[in-house]
């Protein structure tokens, strides 16, 4: 991966969009190399800081810190999405793609969907 940044299409559904300006679709740009501790400071990575390729776990933190408008506990819990949220990577269940460890690629579409209970 030679790009410095990754451009991602993010979509929220099942009510999660309410936490993100009530907007379902977002275009998000993140660094391709990020801090291993998932902190999302936009300051340059200095020598000695442990890094990793940007993965979904990082993305979840990034969305919380830079896109979420309210009540982060309805989105994130214990460094992953809260119970009841399913993550989709290019229309595939993230469990088939390595879950939080999936290394994001430029152009990926990531969907966060809350399970519905109504009927």
């Amino acid at each position: 991966m030679s790009l410095d940044v990754l451009s991602l299409k993010i979509e929220f559904g099942g009510g999660l969009e309410l936490l993100f300006s009530n907007q379902r679709s977002h275009n998000v740009t993140i660094p391709s190399k990020v801090r291993r501790d998932d902190s999302t400071s936009l300051l340059p990575l200095e020598d000695g800081i442990e890094t990793k390729p940007a993965d979904i776990t990082y993305l979840i933190h990034h969305l919380r810190d830079h896109l979420l408008k309210e009540r982060s506990e309805l989105f994130i819990e214990n460094k992953t999405v809260r119970p009841g949220i399913l993550v989709l990577v290019n229309d595939t269940d993230w469990e088939l793609e390595g879950e939080g460890d999936y290394a994001l690629r430029n152009g990926d579409e990531i969907v966060f969907i809350s399970t519905l209970h109504g009927g």
Binding site: G13, G14, G15, R24, L74, R82, P83, G84, L86, L88, D91, T92, D93, E95, L96, V111, I113, S114, T115, L116, H117, G118, G119
Partner: protein, 283 residues
């Protein structure tokens, strides 16, 4: 003289589906011999029941302990103004009998609970989740795992709908495979009153009826998937490839998972409410 596999009039009634590729007389006979239970006669259950009855599913169970209210009529299209105050299961049964008097309908007006669910649901080949709350959804999934029966699960809220068949074939995931921990009630936004557009429940319910008919007639591809629908989305539908059964799932991944464990599970706490709506209030 050999008897016909179907009454003569059935060839006329069901002819338009019997001439379909892959359906045929065999498909119609399978429908007639099958039994399906619809849990919830509300927004999802009404269209489901309508199309299963019209298609000739031989035995249909309807479980709902709620009564018809005015606020239901905006989407629960089997209930008429004259049914206000009547049990939904009864009202729905009467409506589908008007469409097709030849099918057998079981009216079950009791609450579905961890104590009675296994016994009641074991009588049917396929279980349809048309309920409106998380605890019952977990209960139905657990029962489907124990009974090894497919669970055609629909959900609808506001402008959105979701459809999954759980426990599909030997490898299909259960509800707990996807959502091991129930969400906190404040996150679910479902134990409370939320809006819903009638046509959205209609679309999801129709898709549930279709998937059920495909399962019975052998037309189903048998690959675990989730269909997401958003009435205001563009595109409105999205098909998701789902994981297989999870080896570490508390329900379907556990060889010892059984009736007793279901009874012991605290479904009430699961949704955080003191008194869960075991039976579908037809959101």
């Amino acid at each position: 003289m050999a008897s016909l596999p179907l009454p003569l009039l059935d060839y006329q009634r069901y002819g338009r589906q019997m001439i379909l590729d892959g359906f045929g007389l065999a498909g119609q006979v399978k429908l007639k011999q099958s039994s399906v239970v619809v849990v919830g006669a509300g927004g999802l259950g009404c269209p489901v029941l309508q199309y299963l009855a019209a298609a000739g599913v031989g035995t249909i169970g309807i479980i709902d302990d709620d009564i018809v209210e005015l606020s239901n009529l905006q989407r629960q299209i089997l209930h008429a103004e004259s049914s206000l105050g009547v049990h939904k299961a009864e009202s729905a049964a009467e409506s589908i009998s008007r469409i097709n008097s030849s099918i057998h309908v079981d009216v079950i007006k009791s609450r579905l609970t961890p104590q009675n669910a296994l016994e009641i649901l074991s009588r049917y080949n396929i279980i349809l989740d048309c309920t409106d709350n998380a605890p019952t959804r977990y209960l139905l999934s657990d029962v489907a795992v124990v009974l090894k029966k497919p669970l055609v699960s629909g959900a609808a809220q506001k402008y959105e709908g979701q459809l999954v068949i759980y426990s599909l074939g030997p490898d299909g995931p259960c509800y707990r495979c996807l959502f091991p921990k129930p969400p906190a009630p404040e996150a679910a936004g479902t134990c409370e009153e939320t809006g819903i557009l009638g046509a959205v429940t209609g679309i999801v319910g129709n898709l549930q009826a279709l998937e059920t008919i495909k399962l019975i007639t052998g037309l189903h591809e048998m690959k675990p998937s989730m269909l997401l629908f958003s009435a205001l989305g563009s595109p409105p539908f999205r098909s998701i490839k789902l994981r297989s059964r999870k080896a570490d799932c508390a329900a379907c991944g556990n060889q010892d998972f059984n009736l007793n464990m279901i009874t012991e599970t605290d479904y009430v706490q699961a949704c955080g409410g003191p008194r869960p709506d075991w039976v579908q209030r037809g959101l």
